[in-house]
Symmetry: C2
Subunit: 309 residues, 2 copies
């Protein structure tokens, strides 16, 4: 089941050529390690562990959200049932920690291994907290912009922060550099999620492959909507509350978009992207990265803030 989730095998155990995901987190971990002049070989098991941890969260998320498809294939719980999927997720969680512990096999000192396991595990703690808030928000009455940002900082941004901090551990393990990596990853992670929110409503269907206003169809309460629910004029707020109430019919895309426009929610959302991207840039200034590394880290930040899909 773990290997199926990772795209290595089909459900019957035969070798697969399935989509294995983008491996964003381990790639960024190794990029940061290289940018800081660190030992890529020593960082490899930790980078792999981070990808395993990410996949553990996906397997459990799919059970919790009843999602039946992941990377164009049936999700683990659809193939093997919910009990086995919960257990397979637990195994991936275990394998993630074991992989980071394997850093020792590359000659890394015990203190580095301990620090790497701690960073991975603290990051995972934030993800479980974010997931808790996300589930709780589904039935909560009033979610403010600050609540939402707090939730995505944990659920979405924590593992990007882990990616960069792990890179720094295997590149000298300097506390100030680690703190800057954490801040850089956290801000970029928030940017990534808010950009996702923008694309979910205003993305170009020809580029994203999703319908116009995809997140409106799905009744997702992302940042633009939370902003409008909190700040629009009373008639618009009332309309939104009714449309996003519990009767289950999809909100009207055109009406919702018009309300978001009147409330200035797109401007507000794109300003937040700029603000967090700026903070990421400031964190980057504190990193003793090579010129090569800085160029690539800046390119990553620009891509995350401006991507069209």
């Amino acid at each position: 089941m773990a290997r199926y989730q990772l795209g290595q095998v089909n459900a019957d155990g035969s070798p697969a050529t399935a989509d294995r995901g983008k491996a964003v987190r381990p790639t960024l971990c190794l990029l940061m390690c290289e940018a800081l002049g660190g030992d890529l070989q020593a960082a490899l098991p930790a980078a792999a562990g981070l990808e395993l941890l990410h996949n553990f969260t996906l397997v459990h998320d799919d059970v919790m959200d009843d999602d039946e498809t992941r990377r164009h294939r049936p999700t683990v719980w659809v193939v093997w049932g919910r009990s086995q999927a919960i257990d397979a997720g637990d195994l991936l969680h275990v394998l993630a920690t074991l992989s980071v512990l394997r850093s020792g096999g590359n000659g890394a000192a015990a203190a580095l291994v301990r620090d790497a396991v701690e960073v991975l595990t603290e990051g995972c703690r934030l993800v479980t907290e974010g997931q808790h808030l996300d589930i709780a928000f589904e039935t909560a009455a009033n979610i403010g912009v600050a609540d939402y940002l707090d939730m995505i900082a944990r659920k979405s941004a924590a593992l990007l922060a882990v990616a960069f901090e792990l890179g720094a551990i295997f590149a000298g393990n300097d506390p100030a550099t680690r703190a800057a990596c954490r801040a850089y990853g956290r801000e970029l992670g928030i940017v990534f999620q808010i950009r996702d929110d923008v694309l979910g409503i205003w993305g170009d269907p020809a580029v994203t492959g999703k319908p116009v206003g995809a997140d409106i169809h799905k009744r997702k309460k992302t940042l633009p909507l939370i902003h409008a629910l909190a700040t629009a004029g009373e008639p618009d707020r009332h309309r939104l509350r009714v449309m996003y109430g519990s009767d289950g019919t999809a909100p009207d895309v055109e009406t919702t978009m018009a309300i978001l426009k009147r409330a200035g929610s797109r401007n507000f959302t794109e300003n937040r992207i700029r603000k967090h991207a700026q903070r990421a840039g400031q964190a980057l200034c504190h990193l003793p990265a090579s010129a090569w590394g800085r160029r690539h880290l800046e390119a990553v930040a620009t891509y995350i803030a401006t991507r069209d899909r």
Copy 2:
């Protein structure tokens, strides 16, 4: 939710005086550490982590098994729903690792902390494998005695092995002593589970608080039943297969007990207890425990093999 599971608070967050469980594993961890002349303070965070890990497995098991009551209270999923319970279990898993990592705060060297995290995590890997087999056995056609012993060695015995090995880590971390602790815990864990199987069928209701043949009512395929299914004469095997088939009605207790008697399944099961208890005793011989420690470890083994409830 984590604190509710641990019996520290009620569902509304108020302080609870609920049953917090017997804390068998951390107690045995500290006993072994003391028996080997180790540093109890240094072992405490690891012992606590083991109890957190055990509770993580309980929260997820209750979701998987649809169990609605645990320690005389509604289970976490009954109170907060399945999604939050899966997430709360994941958090307890995280907190277990973090607790073991805190051993460093007591001045333990990084290598000890790394080894302790590894032992905990490898033990957890075995538990997830055992859980996988247990779920798979529910729908499997032919489970043999060896399959069953392999499953309980992982699902039930692994965390007892972890308990003793963690004790040894903080008492000198000698590889041979650790291996003996692992063997001792594994054999005692198997004894514990098989004794449970005996009590589930032949336990005295006045002592166990459960009805006669409780596990027969529940259609549980424990060792005596698996033995009978594999070795009884053909008419009896046929009767058992029909009674334990998929029609869902509870097997007849008297008929089942008579079949178990004819197949010699009680004798077989109690011989297995003796065999594994003997192996545990051999492992104990290889432990450099104090006279005080040996006396208590022997008392633990005797209790586990002969307990009446």
